[in-house]
């Protein structure tokens, strides 16, 4: 812009004056990258190095272990229940909040974000207080012979809680940005509510929904603190992958622990790559803050 009002020489001077000298610039880049390397890159690399420290044969032996497969299956099962539940909730909440004006709306949006500010351990604790042996509903559940804590149901509840806001907080701002005109047009042209949702709203929010599901799923499969509290660590029954990592590590089976951990780290890398691709290619179709 300055090139239009002033000569190229002045422009260069201003540009130089609004950035740092090369020395400062490279010092800042070096400091930032060294910090990233120490805090983020090194731990990630070390997971794979430790997992393969005994060679590939030991790695595959650890991964192929029956307990490990139980843990993988349970992790997939919990995520397969928790994520769709939160998707349905996210769509319903976003439809109500973005397409209508009603009293108490901002309170509802605040409450949806609540689980993000709760410690993982507390996220598990609250379900023990409700459904545990000494919990509010504990005695009643015992009489009915229903087990929630130390059972898969408890794992699902705790996982639903910690991943509760992901889809909704992605969809609400996105649908608010998109407004109501298209839906109102579809309805006034005679489309039913479901038809409008399937053919107008859903295609508009598809990428945002995928983005929310991606983050929700990563957290659902990786959650440790909350599920640790409700699980009881019963091998082969309530042991998800992150919990299995802990058990192996505490048994000094470091190669085994890091082998399972490397599977989870692989999931994290896939999530980050997919998330970045979504931001780069479809940034304009995600909620405002995600544009890159």
């Amino acid at each position: 812009m300055e090139t239009q009002t002033a000569g190229p020489a002045t422009a260069a001077k201003v540009r130089r004056a609004t950035t740092e000298s090369p020395l400062v610039r490279w010092a800042l880049i070096a400091t930032g990258m060294l910090f990233i390397a120490l805090v983020l890159v090194l731990p990630l690399i070390s997971v794979f190095m430790e997992a393969l420290s005994g060679g590939f044969a030991t790695f595959f032996q650890a991964v192929g272990n029956a307990d490990t497969w139980q843990a993988v299956r349970l992790t997939l099962l919990v995520a397969a229940i928790a994520v769709p539940l939160n998707v349905v909730f996210g769509l319903a909440a976003a439809w109500a909040v973005a397409k209508f004006d009603f009293r108490g709306k901002s309170l509802l949006v605040t409450l949806i974000d609540l689980p993000f500010s709760v410690s993982p351990v507390i996220s598990g604790l609250i379900y023990v207080l409700l459904y545990g042996a000494n919990g509010w509903f504990g005695p009643a559940l015992k009489e009915l012979d229903i087990k929630i804590i130390f059972n898969v149901t408890g794992l699902v509840l705790a996982t639903v809680f910690v991943t509760f806001p992901f889809v909704a907080r992605e969809l609400i701002p996105l649908m608010q940005e998109q407004g109501r005109d298209e839906e109102e047009a579809a309805i006034s042209l005679g489309a039913s509510g479901w038809r409008t949702f399937w053919y107008v709203t859903l295609p508009n929010v598809a990428w945002g929904l995928l983005y929310g599901v991606l983050l929700c799923n990563a957290r659902a499969m990786g959650e440790f603190g909350a599920v640790s509290v409700v699980s009881g660590h019963i091998r082969g029954l309530t042991n998800t992958m992150p919990l299995h990592v802990e058990i192996l590590y505490n048994e000094y089976d470091f190669v085994g622990a890091f082998a399972v951990a490397s599977l989870l780290a692989g999931l994290a890398i896939v999530t980050l790559v997919a998330k970045s691709l979504l931001e780069w290619r479809y940034g304009d179709r995600l909620a405002g803050g995600r544009k890159h």
């Binding site: 201003v14 004056a17 609004t18 400062v24 800042l28 880049i29 400091t31 930032g32 910090f35 990233i36 805090v39 983020l40 731990p43 990630l44 997971v47 430790e50 539940l85 909730f89 319903a92 909440a93 109500a96 397409k99 209508f100 004006d101 009603f102 509802l108 409450l111 609540l114 689980p115 500010s117 709760v118 410690s119 351990v121 507390i122 604790l125 609250i126 023990v128 409700l130 042996a133 919990g135 509760f164 109501r180 109102e184 309805i187 409008t196 990786g222 440790f224 603190g225 640790s228 509290v229 992150p242 919990l243 802990e246 590590y249 890091f258 951990a261 989870l264 994290a268 980050l272 790559v273």
Partner: protein
């Protein structure tokens, strides 16, 4: 029809031609109540069974006090470290070009994506006395893993993205012309940063700091492997909740939980105030 709807809802909702309000709001509120509100109310009400003296008795226990002090203290220091280095990282990512910038940018979110238990065992291995980084510090007589310093390392790991992601959009939207004006009025680059840029990004920096702090206070998975978990020394408050639960001391666990929950709500409130204040600041 719409008049009937308005009179039925008593002005609770503005009339609309779109359907599904009752269904979606009803489902959302019911789901929210079952998953979030009911369980959280159990947490708030449970310590009431202890009475005030019993509640204070749990919190005044020296082991509980030490754990709370460690959790809040280490979280605060970690947030300060992250505010400083996070600002540098956000700054170079927004302002400069360098190799692998996009990869580094994507990598900043790693602590959000990497399961905390994985981060925990990995950090414990690296920062142990015989680990990649720990062995560098050992000759200096500094042990990181299995001491409170280890807690700090884990909390720095999980807090970094909050600061960077809070700052990036604000740095991006910063008006270059204001900086040009400062330069043409004779300000040095450092003066421009201190007097022009820093005040503009301060609300975002504070928000990132508070988010990192709030997350770190409650962090569990990445900490317990590297902390060593010595009572009174390197035992964090969330771990003490787990220990009390294992002893079936539900009320005691809930008492610690309530204190931590109250603290994180206070932080959330502060963030809202900072953001409201900065928004009003911008309008003028």
């Amino acid at each position: 029809m719409t008049a009937l709807a308005t009179s039925l809802s008593g002005g609770f909702k503005r009339p609309s031609v779109l359907p599904g309000f009752g269904l979606t709001l009803g489902f959302a509120v019911a789901y929210l109540s079952i998953i979030v509100l009911l369980p959280l109310s159990a947490l708030v009400l449970r310590p009431a069974t202890l009475g005030i003296s019993g509640f204070l008795g749990v919190l005044m226990d020296s082991r509980v006090l030490a754990a709370l002090r460690l959790s809040f203290g280490a979280a605060f220091i970690a947030a300060v470290v992250n505010a400083f280095f996070g600002l540098i990282v956000a700054w170079v990512l927004v302002r400069y070009d360098f190799p692998f910038k996009r990869i580094v940018d994507a990598l900043v979110d790693l602590p959000f994506a990497l399961p905390t238990a994985v981060a925990g065992i990995s950090l414990a291995t690296i920062y142990a006395p015989n680990g990649w980084v720990g062995s560098l510090f050992k000759p200096l007589g500094i042990e990181i893993a299995f001491t409170p310093l280890g807690v700090l390392v884990a909390l720095i790991f999980i807090g970094l993205p909050f600061v960077v992601r809070s700052l990036q959009p604000v740095l991006q939207d910063l008006d270059k012309e204001v900086e040009e004006a400062a330069v043409s009025l004779g300000a040095s680059r450092w003066q421009t940063f201190r007097l022009v840029i820093l005040p503009a990004i301060l609300p975002a920096l504070l928000t990132g700091f508070a988010l990192a702090f709030a997350r770190a206070v409650g962090e569990y998975g990445s900490v317990i492997f590297i902390a060593g978990n010595m009572p009174l020394v390197s035992e964090i408050a969330p771990l003490l909740i787990v220990i009390k639960l294992e002893q079936f001391d539900y009320a005691g666990a809930a008492a610690i939980g309530v204190i931590m929950l109250a603290a994180s709500f206070l932080i959330l409130l502060l963030i809202n105030l900072v953001q409201r204040w900065s928004r009003r600041h911008e309008e003028h």
